[in-house]
């Protein structure tokens, strides 16, 4: 008996010792991607393919701000470099690119990722590496909640965009028959859920829904199915090419509902596709809408918009200013501010804790950027934009219809 209790004590003791040694292990944080004169950020985005416009512009918007900062001497004497790989909006490539950025290139942080299926697929990899990532060209809810310590967003979510669109059509315009056409993947599903939630709040459901395959341009079946029911509004989730084609064919069928889609469509590519490729008649323009998460880049009242347009013509004179690049530009602004506040002794850990303490930071648009422990999304609220004679999606302030 005594022998047993002795043995038991011994085992307990050994366990305790092993726990202690675990606790005593000192965490050494290595600083990757930072040298005396440079900070390297990594990005994986669609630079080619049917979403290629988005990735290219998203990164260019950021690049022109970094160029300006680097010319002025960088942040605490360090130039900001961006290593970017093309994933063509293909989740498998996104994972491979990200692994390469983390373990081979050893970048300081990740930056400006594009797309829902891509970002959602790579989330576990980034979470496990605990590397900071700032800025996603997606509003997917699953990237926002639950809050991960190393994930930071600037733009508001798809749920907010869906809620905004539903509010506009149902509450303000009193249009209750809502159809939904969505891309058959995580992106489509993410926005669909937002739309369903927003409608449910108002005691409604979509009257009709349909999906189409990502990248497909054959939307004949969907057209038929969607318009087999009377619809006032078609909320669309997808990329610019198929959506523009869908609108054109709907018009050709004699259907004239409102069409609305979310910011991911890439408004300038979408407007080009609608006006120049599909040649939609201009008297139908006003019934095509895009919800935006950043303001109109040509706005004269926002200092950041003015700055962006000026820098864009300086560094990329061939590119027309657009919402996507402007969002990329704003992302870069917040990253630079966070780097500046972190100070010259830069580590990933310090950078993350600095980011989460940013409160009411003015980035030169009317809204202020704030982060907290429970919300890693910097901006709140959306904007409405409408296709105009100028062939631009210009923002407008919706007014309630009084009968």
């Amino acid at each position: 008996m005594r022998l047993f209790s002795l043995l038991f004590l011994l085992i307990c003791h050994l366990l305790l010792i092993s726990c202690d040694s675990h606790r005593d292990r000192i965490e050494v944080e290595q600083t990757f991607g930072v040298t005396e004169s440079t900070i390297t950020l990594g990005s994986s985005a669609a630079l080619t393919g049917h979403a290629g416009f988005l990735g290219t512009e998203y990164l260019r918007g950021a690049q022109l701000y970094f160029n300006e900062i680097n010319t002025a001497g960088g942040v605490h004497g360090r130039e900001i470099l961006v290593t970017a790989y093309d994933d063509s909006y293909n989740p498998v490539k996104t994972i491979a690119n990200t692994q390469r950025l983390i373990s081979e290139d050893k970048v300081f942080a990740l930056f400006n990722y594009v797309g829902t299926p891509t970002s959602v697929a790579v989330k576990p990899t980034i979470k496990a590496a605990n590397i900071p990532i700032f800025g996603f060209f997606t509003g997917a809810e699953s990237l926002r909640y639950p809050v991960e310590s190393n994930f930071f967003h600037l733009r508001d979510s798809y749920y907010a965009e869906a809620e905004g669109a539903v509010h506009y059509f149902v509450d303000l315009k009193d249009l209750n028959k809502v159809g939904v056409l969505y891309q058959d993947d995580a992106f489509g599903l993410a926005v669909l859920k937002g739309i369903q939630l927003a409608l449910r709040e108002r005691g409604l459901e979509p009257v009709v829904t349909d999906t189409y395959e990502r990248g497909s341009l054959d939307l004949g079946d969907s057209l038929e199915w969607i318009f087999s029911k009377p619809v006032d509004v078609v909320l669309m989730v997808g990329t610019y090419e198929p959506l523009a084609k869908f609108i054109k064919e709907a018009h050709d069928m004699g259907q004239d509902p409102y069409f609305s889609t979310v910011s991911f469509v890439g408004s300038s590519a979408f407007s080009y596709e609608l006006t120049e490729v599909q040649k939609i008649s201009s008297n139908k323009y006003e019934k095509i809408m895009v919800t935006q998460v950043v303001p109109w880049p040509f706005s004269q009242s926002n200092p950041s918009a003015l700055e962006y347009v000026a820098l864009s013509s300086k560094y990329f004179p061939d590119d027309a200013p657009n919402y996507v690049a402007f969002e990329g530009f704003l992302n870069a602004k917040v990253v630079v501010e966070a780097l500046r506040r972190t100070g010259s002794k830069l580590t990933r850990k310090k950078f993350l804790s600095t980011l989460s303490t940013i409160k009411s930071y003015d980035i030169g648009i009317e809204k202020k950027v704030s982060f907290s422990a429970t919300s890693h999304q910097g901006l709140k609220g959306i904007y409405y934009s409408q296709l105009k004679e100028s062939k631009w999606f210009e923002t407008f302030t919706p007014v309630e219809v009084v009968e």
Partner: protein, 690 residues
């Protein structure tokens, strides 16, 4: 029961128990395995199919749905019994039954909340024998239909068959173990108990006195050891018995010897007892004496041990003890009626100090006696030493020194009063002397200045006369002197002199008047103290008179309100002096109202209320104004000589000091005030009726 049966039963039971537990655990694992399988693999299968057909369900494509589910069924023929798809209205969209749909299907779970992903049901009915897995078909967050997939129980059981076999084997092995183990246990315990039986027989023999029986156990285990020890024990008992017999014989001799010596000791003892009794008597005598001495003290006296228990106390203390607690035995219980020893900062325990310092101590304590009065108690404590100089006990006396204390304090107070009186007296004498010395010169300075002022007017009139004459002369004779006259005027600055000289003299006179006022006040003050007899006087009358006399002082400042008691008795006093007090107080009241008007820049009429009343054996007079009130920092200086808040020309700083002198020191009355800044002040004084 015999040990061998007990042992066998225990071992048998243990083996049986182990086998049953093994069997139970294993068959439980089989169940768990089945449930897990259903919850994971089969549910996933259902969810996979559900998400593959959700568009078909939404679009109501019955034929495609049916084709798809048949394809699934055929792929997994052994496992899947049936697949049923219903739409959101619970209408069947497709199924795989070849004949009629069994009724149970319609009772299955069809609606799911957003957080539920599946539901498993068991349909035990003979034909089916399936687990039904229901899975919601969803688009986004909206459920558009339900998929039921029936999994054959037989198939599921098959997947767990190796484990099931193992369970059966364990059961058989268990039974085998029970049988073999039982037999072995029986054999073993028989072998052990056999030797024990032999030992028992031997023990019986010994108890009958037979020590010659031999033991024949030769095993080398613990039973063998026991047998050897037993033999040794038998040998020792034999030897011991022999020694005992020899010893018995010796014992009788020894007893008779001891008896003799005991008798001798008894005798010696008797003698010493007598001596002891004598000593005891002495001791009792001493104790009695001590008690008498002790009880002669009229204050509580204790002898206290280090642990606070009382070793001794006198009669006074005894009374106190019975008063407090009855039969208590510690000093703090008896004397303070407390449950713990004293020891706070202001309630020190003399016992501790005495034991610590080894010196007598005296401590003062404040106690409430039985009637609740505060008493000052002097505690005197003295150490009692043993031969080695250590403190062993303490004598403690409680002496009530309240009266002595009071007497000492009274003496101190009287001394202070006397000092104050002396001071006042010397100031008075000084003031009288100074007043007298100043008074005479002031008198003639005043008279001479008056004279100069009056004369000056005559001189100016005279000069005016001359001027008229000169003018007349000029008119009559035409002699030109006008110019020279003007020159003389200008040189002397005549017009200025005529204007200013009388004024300056008047100012001088005012100054002199003020000085003589102060001097007179000082004289009055020094005269207070005359020793004429007091007369019985009517105070109401005095108040009326004083108000009339002082009308000029208050009529522009205030209305008077009177509240005079008609029953006021006559009061013995020096009425002239009391009138002086009244006058001073009324003038002060008027001034206070004026001062308030000045600070507020208003010209309102205030109110001075004068009251008289009977207050016990005294008459009380109150004079209330609605003036400025008295600032707090001035309140305690109010009755000091030369203290004034008024402008230099207005007050002498003597009024209230004189009032105090008259009321308090001369008449043995009281004077005080109540005031509130900005609201007003009331002065009261009282005089004794007899």
């Amino acid at each position: 029961m015999k040990i061998k049966f007990k042992l066998t039963a225990i071992i048998f039971f243990l083996i049986l128990l182990t086998s049953i537990i093994n069997y139970k655990v294993l068959s439980g694992t089989v169940e768990e395995l089945l449930t897990k399988r259903l919850e994971t693999a089969e549910t996933l299968l259902g969810q996979g199919i559900a998400s593959a057909i959700n568009r078909l369900v939404i679009e109501g494509k019955r034929d495609v749905v049916t084709a798809k589910i048949f394809k699934e069924l055929n792929l997994r023929n052994e496992k899947i019994n049936y697949i049923v798809v219903t739409d959101r209205e619970k209408q069947i969209l497709g199924h795989t039954f070849l004949t009629e749909i069994p009724q149970e299907i319609f009772t299955l779970r069809a609606l799911f909340s957003e957080t539920e992903d599946y539901y498993i049901d068991y349909l035990p009915d003979s034909d089916l024998g399936v687990f039904d897995i229901s899975v919601p078909i969803r688009e986004g967050i909206i459920q558009v239909g339900t998929l039921h997939i029936g999994i054959n129980k037989k198939f599921i059981l098959n997947t767990a068959s190796p484990l099931k076999d193992a369970t059966d084997k364990i059961l058989i092995l268990g039974v085998l173990c029970v049988v073999v183990g039982g037999l072995l246990a029986y054999g073993l315990s028989s072998a052990i108990t056999q030797s024990l039986v032999k030992l028992t027989e031997l023990a019986h023999e010994i108890s009958r006195g037979n020590y010659d029986e031999k033991l024949t156990i030769e095993s080398k285990d613990e039973v063998g050891d026991l047998a050897t020890s037993f033999s040794l024990m038998v040998k020792n008992i034999k030897r011991a018995r022999k020694e005992l017999e020899i010893h018995n014989e010796n014992l009788e001799l020894l007893v008779s010897e001891r008896t003799k010596s005991l008798e001798e000791s008894n005798k010696e003892l008797l003698i010493s007892q007598n001596e002891l009794e004598e000593l005891n008597e002495d001791l009792a005598e001493q104790r009695k004496n001590l008690k008498i001495v002790f009880s002669a003290m009229d204050y509580p006296l204790y002898v206290v041990n280090e642990d606070y228990t009382i070793a001794m106390m006198n009669d006074t203390a005894q009374e106190l003890a019975t008063l407090n607690k009855g039969k208590s035995c510690t000093c703090y219980e008896v004397h303070h009626n407390a449950s713990t020893p004293c020891g706070s900062e202001d309630n020190q325990c003399p016992l501790k100090i005495v034991f610590e310092k080894k010196k007598p101590v005296v401590i003062e304590k404040i106690r409430l006696n039985s009637s609740g009065e505060k008493r000052v108690i002097e505690v005197r404590a003295y150490p009692i030493f043993d031969h080695d100089g250590n403190v062993v006990q303490m004598v403690e006396a409680f002496i009530d020194i309240t009266e002595q204390k009071k007497a000492v304090e009274e003496n101190l107070r009287l001394e202070r009063e006397l000092n104050k009186a002396h001071k006042l007296e010397s100031i008075g004498t000084l003031a009288a002397g100074v007043a007298h010395e100043i008074n005479t010169p002031i008198q003639f300075i005043g008279d001479n200045t008056s004279f100069a002022k009056d004369s000056l007017e005559d001189v100016f009139e005279m000069i005016q006369g001359y001027k008229l004459l000169i003018e007349k002369l000029h008119k009559d004779t035409g002699v030109e002197v006008d110019h020279e006259v003007k020159q003389i005027d200008d040189d002397a600055d005549y017009d200025y002199l005529k204007e200013e000289l009388p004024k300056s003299l008047q100012q001088t006179l005012d100054g002199i008047e003020h000085v003589s006022k102060i001097v007179k006040a000082m004289k009055d003050f020094s005269h207070i103290g005359s020793n004429e007899e007091m007369q019985l006087e009517d105070l109401n009358n005095a108040i009326e008179t004083t108000l009339t006399i002082s009308k000029n002082e208050w009529k522009y400042q205030a209305d008077i309100k009177k509240d005079l008691s008609p029953e006021l008795p006559a009061v013995p006093c020096y009425i002239g002096e009391i009138k002086q007090v009244l006058l001073n107080l009324i003038i002060n009241a008027a001034h206070a109202i004026a001062a308030k008007n000045e600070t507020n820049k208003t010209e309102e009429l205030g109110t001075i209320s004068v009251s008289s009343s009977i207050d016990g054996d005294r008459v009380k007079v109150g004079i209330t104004d609605t003036g400025t009130g008295i600032a707090e920092e001035n309140q305690n200086k109010l009755f000091d000589h030369f203290f004034t808040t008024k402008e230099v020309s207005q007050g002498t700083g003597q009024g209230l000091a004189v009032a105090y002198q008259i009321v308090v020191e001369k008449h043995g009355g009281e004077i005080w005030f109540e005031t509130e800044v900005g609201v007003g002040t009331t002065f009261y004084f009282t005089l004794k009726v007899s």
